[in-house]
Symmetry: C2
Subunit: 415 residues, 2 copies
Amino acid sequence: MSEIKDKAIQAKAITYSLASMSTEQKNQALEAMALELEQDTDQILAANAQDLLHGRENGLTDSLLDRLTLTSERIQDMALGLRQIVELDDPIGEVMEKFDRPNGLKIEKQRVPLGVIGIIYEARPNVTVDAAGLCLKTGNASLLRGSSTAIHSNKAIVQTLQKALEGIGYVKEAVQLIEDTSREAASELFTLNDYVDVLIPRGGASLIKTVVASSTIPVLETGVGNCHIFIDESAKAEMATNIVVNAKTQRPSVCNACETVLIHRNWAKQHLPNLLDQLHQHHVSIVGDEELREWDASSEIAEHKDWAEEYLDLKLAIRLVNSTEDALAHIRKYGTHHSEAIISESDEHVVAFLNGVDAAAVYHNASTRFTDGFEFGFGAEIGISTQKLHARGPMGLEALTSTKYKIYGEGQIKS
Amino acid sequence: MSEIKDKAIQAKAITYSLASMSTEQKNQALEAMALELEQDTDQILAANAQDLLHGRENGLTDSLLDRLTLTSERIQDMALGLRQIVELDDPIGEVMEKFDRPNGLKIEKQRVPLGVIGIIYEARPNVTVDAAGLCLKTGNASLLRGSSTAIHSNKAIVQTLQKALEGIGYVKEAVQLIEDTSREAASELFTLNDYVDVLIPRGGASLIKTVVASSTIPVLETGVGNCHIFIDESAKAEMATNIVVNAKTQRPSVCNACETVLIHRNWAKQHLPNLLDQLHQHHVSIVGDEELREWDASSEIAEHKDWAEEYLDLKLAIRLVNSTEDALAHIRKYGTHHSEAIISESDEHVVAFLNGVDAAAVYHNASTRFTDGFEFGFGAEIGISTQKLHARGPMGLEALTSTKYKIYGEGQIKS
């Protein structure tokens, strides 16, 4: 049997015992994992050094190498992350609804774990700890499938986590790493519907697309964000400028960063030069229509793909529009249903925009950068869902749960 | 462009206007649809006669022909079904959560339509009306893909529904029928992720399996039920017998009917002969292990597939077990996560069973036949979900909705 099927079967087999773990047991396991990470820092750093060596040999970019790099501080942060999960309320077991039927049946809707969660992710080894911790707190078994570039780090980390679990008598198969990082193994994972309940891809657009297209297991789709900000004619100049600069430059590499700004022509007449100045000062390169060159001779002409792309870089598309409806039409064509914002002082336009945009998060007079589990106060985040089923927007612990109806009778039969 | 892509694009294009329809407008549309169905009864019956003629020529079974047959009474029932949907609360627009963040952002989580829902279903033409009505009430556009055997009936029905919508100035593309019932058209539908938000298969196991395996669009999986009843040693004899007979015979063709009974040996010693008598009186044929033949010489030997199959017929598998754990092990091996019941007077065993079974609905001392939107008091049902994401168990109107975060600021930027 393949490694992956074997581990999936083992994971499924323990879901029943994981589902009955008490909050105290789960918190104890998280605490043990945090402690063991701290104690094994040297081994983990040694394994990480191997990955970095391979990475340099294989010509990984500096930014990828940076994401791959662990330090004792970053390992300390992983341990801290686990301890923060300890502090979160345990959603499992919560009775969400309770109702009696005329025939005397008593019905309860209770929150239960999903079962086995497959997480498919890219270079960052901290995702290993983060995903394992969130799944554990929600009584789920995690099957972690990181990238080949981080395999030594991930192996060392999961070994440490499993040692911690064994040390306190917890089921160590609650957290498993898939060590075979081949494409074939991934393809096999995509069809293990009998053992894996949900797949969550965490990474770039192409990873997510592959999982969505290939998996017969339900997928929690996360993260591609081609986010827009629409500056309405009534927008306050300074507020709009600050928000655009923030949403573009504060951290350009993340999914809730802004990629396109749509500007009402009446606002542009007065305030566009200053906005462009500010963006140039922040080293943002601009693309746009022919018309934009009248305002900014240095801007490049945007092709279709430029309006559709998630740059994740200091690059911004700008288009002038005549109305809220024009802005909506543009977003409906190019948006990815992640985060969209309107800067406006007109109630009518705000309502039309917030209702008319089909996205997980829609903003009035704020930066799109707030779409994030921590900013929403969830205390944790497994990703940002851009699909419409199950969970939409930042996903906290509840997104990792399902429900079960318990029905209590006294011999009721259907007549 | 293919019919199906064309209709999907049209459906997507109107989702924004459908999302803003008021409850009154939607109810008016439902009422108009009901009235028009009544007025067009003759045309619909004439179209149905064509389908029945083709069906007989093509050798459809009597039970399939019965499901396909419309009468003026059945059309009246469809109209009544729409009027019942009028009476239901409109979930769209509901603010589910509302919270303020320390930085002053005000966040609201609001219920919104899913968008475009593809429904793929088999012979029963009443599903056409039912699905169209439920989607309309929740502000969704429906793309209906019925079977070729019902194509004339479905065409006539959708024509009538669209005439009703046009008559009151509603968007008629809110309800569309896919007239191309070829496999190729279905395959195309499965990958229209840009236009279709969710697919819901309603029909037999093989239809559902095909959709789950082939669709890259998120699927709401419904319905296969290999439901078990476990009779614990402490079960009251009459209650257990009545429940099993009811769950098996009251309507054997539905997904919440019982297919396998697991019986504690101590209970069997005293009460199995009477249970077998009752089942035989109801013309139920029995399959089981070699051991069962000592009790019922007429029973057939069950093979692996007999434990796994959803009979949907007057056939029942029976196995004797030694404990609740044995029963759980059997259900974990063969169950389809639909509905499972324990008949018992032991609190300990009841708790172990209800927590230990992984199913949408778990029963204590009641028939599995109650897993149903109407029995749960939802007033409507689009199907029974056996998956764990989004909705599990009977799905009412809320299962046809998604959510959207609306965030109100005063210029907040991320620091």
